[in-house]
């Protein structure tokens, strides 16, 4: 795989720039691309979240705000400008720091969470050649970088000097650390079978054999363990006990407002996109077309594998997974803390460990 950074270096090489100029320029371009992806993702995802929740509850959702005088139709596109207006509102809001808060840490915490999500995007491929920088240890890098955010969550809760924030961050820390284990174990399954940590190699294995979700009963189970654990990892309902509105106001985000709260929001939706893309690449064939698997239209233009079509399939699979997350949110009631821990330690981890053992046997036999 050639990454965006590689092709930028290649295209800038004709200018004979000094490396001291070239490196910051390329870093800046890559960073801007990631920030744009995160911002656009949050804008679209928040709108869809509100609309989908509204339709599931037989409401209309946001209907008033349009873009540039375009008011949209009667139903779905009715409030198309709502999230843009919300974002501008957030940026001009008053920035509040409580008197007894630890001000340095309270300012630092959102940036740690944001950095965790931001760094993850560097190694995340959107299609065969659309990745900011291609890592040999791709999936391990993503796993490592997504574990930084939890420190920001703990610090945000502690530095706010608020009992709800502290409860929220304690719950968040326990939950995120616990659910990292089944996620790691089910990813290990795939690494074991594919024999590589490189995401391009993992997709190539799936192109040569079959998608990992169909590989064996154990990887089929591992996909669901992974997916449910990632919902817990991103703190979404039914696992949203760290910010449970009805008990903890807003959990660890209670004292935040304005831009810093917007950073939390941005990272939360960015994490949703990250875990969905990772799930679709690792288990659902990534940029491979599903039509190729079922062989519906053999040798037709539909299975062409260019970067644009690859991007389409990755995003298509990720959007379906995000939609299911939203569907879950408006379907299931919130779990209690003990139920959450029971699910992780007594259900997911034993099953994931047994999975790991059985898939090794499967690989030996077949």
């Amino acid at each position: 795989m050639t990454s965006i950074v590689d092709s930028l270096v290649k295209s800038f090489s004709s200018f004979n720039l000094d490396i001291a100029v070239l490196l910051p320029v390329i870093t800046l371009i890559g960073g801007t691309v990631i920030f744009l992806i995160m911002a656009v993702n949050a804008l679209i995802a928040v709108y869809f979240e509100r609309k989908i929740s509204a339709f599931m509850q037989d409401r209309l959702g946001p209907m008033e705000v349009g873009i540039f005088g375009f008011k949209g139709g009667k139903k779905f596109w009715g409030g198309i400008g709502q999230t843009l207006a919300d974002a501008i509102k957030l940026l001009v809001k008053e920035d509040i720091l409580p008197n007894n808060a630890d001000k340095f840490l309270m300012i630092l915490a959102p940036f740690i969470i944001f950095t965790g999500a931001f760094l993850t995007f560097i190694g995340l491929p959107f299609a065969q050649n659309i990745v900011i920088s291609d890592f040999n240890i791709g999936i391990f890098y993503i796993f490592a970088m997504s574990s930084i955010g939890v420190i920001g969550v703990i610090l945000a809760g502690w530095s706010s000097n608020n009992k709800w924030s502290l409860y929220g961050s304690m719950r968040a820390a326990a939950q995120i650390i616990s659910y990292e284990i089944p996620i790691g174990l089910s990813l290990l399954l795939v690494v074991l079978v594919a024999g590589s940590l490189h995401l391009g190699d993992i997709v190539q294995w799936q192109a040569d054999h079959r998608w990992f979700i169909f590989h064996s009963p154990f990887t089929f189970l591992a996909f669901f363990i992974f997916y449910i654990s990632t919902i817990a990892e991103t703190n979404r309902t039914p696992f949203d006990i760290p910010e449970a509105e009805s008990e903890l106001v807003a959990g660890w985000m209670t004292e935040y407002s304005g831009f810093r709260w917007a950073l939390f929001f941005l990272s939360e939706y960015a994490n949703m996109l990250i875990v969905s893309i990772v799930a679709s690449i690792v288990f659902l064939g990534g940029w491979l077309s599903p039509l190729q698997i079922f062989n519906i239209f053999p040798d037709s233009w539909l299975i062409l594998d260019g970067p644009a079509i690859g991007l389409f399939w990755v995003l298509f699979k990720a959007v379906i997974l995000i939609f299911i997350m939203m569907w879950f949110r408006w379907t299931f009631p919130r779990l209690r803390v003990d139920q959450l821990m029971y699910l992780c330690w007594k259900v997911f981890i034993p099953f994931a460990l047994a999975n790991l053992f059985l898939v090794s046997l499967w690989e030996l036999i077949f």
């Binding site: 490196l23 040999n136 391990f140 796993f143 490592a144 420190i151 502290l166």
Partner: protein
């Protein structure tokens, strides 16, 4: 350019480690440790050890540091100076620290460092796995037994009887 980057990262490691020791507030020390551990991962990348760098972040930043911050957060009276930065036996401690410093400096200057040419490897993971399960299998297994014993000991200690 690479040298400047290395100097920046090394300075970050030293400055944040300094702040870990001298910060008057325990939780600020713990946060400063985040920067120390993270920039140490950066130093590993300069050695082309990408797998070790990611492991450093997973284990130290994502695991141990979270545990430390958790523990510090639950400590009473974090801000009082008595538990944060009190020092006793300054003379003996200073002597000990100074002698360790002298030993380390002499080791640094007396070691015949191997200076190789820069080479990038395709994948470090394969060779790490191969070495762990062939040449260094016994130390690897002994470490896992030690960790298992520590795990069981922690579970036993934290149980309310």
């Amino acid at each position: 350019m690479a040298e400047n980057l290395f100097l920046i990262i090394a300075a970050l490691v030293i400055a944040s480690a300094f702040w870990v020791v001298f910060s008057p507030n325990l939780i600020h020390s713990a946060v400063s440790l985040l920067f120390t551990l993270f920039s140490t991962a950066g130093l590993y990348i300069f050695l082309y050890a990408d797998f070790i760098a990611a492991t450093q972040v997973v284990i130290y930043v994502g695991g141990i540091l979270v545990l430390i911050i958790f523990g510090v957060m639950l400590t009473n009276r974090i801000d009082t100076p008595s538990i944060a930065a009190s020092s006793k036996n300054q003379f003996i401690g200073g002597m000990g620290a100074f002698s360790i410093f002298v030993i380390q400096v002499s080791v640094i200057f007396n070691t015949p460092w191997h200076i190789g040419t820069e080479q990038s490897r395709d994948s470090t993971v394969a060779s790490i796995g191969y070495l762990l399960l062939n040449e260094y299998l016994l130390p690897f297994e002994i470490i896992s037994i030690l960790l298992l014993a520590a795990l069981m000991g922690a579970a036993l200690l934290s149980r309310r009887t």
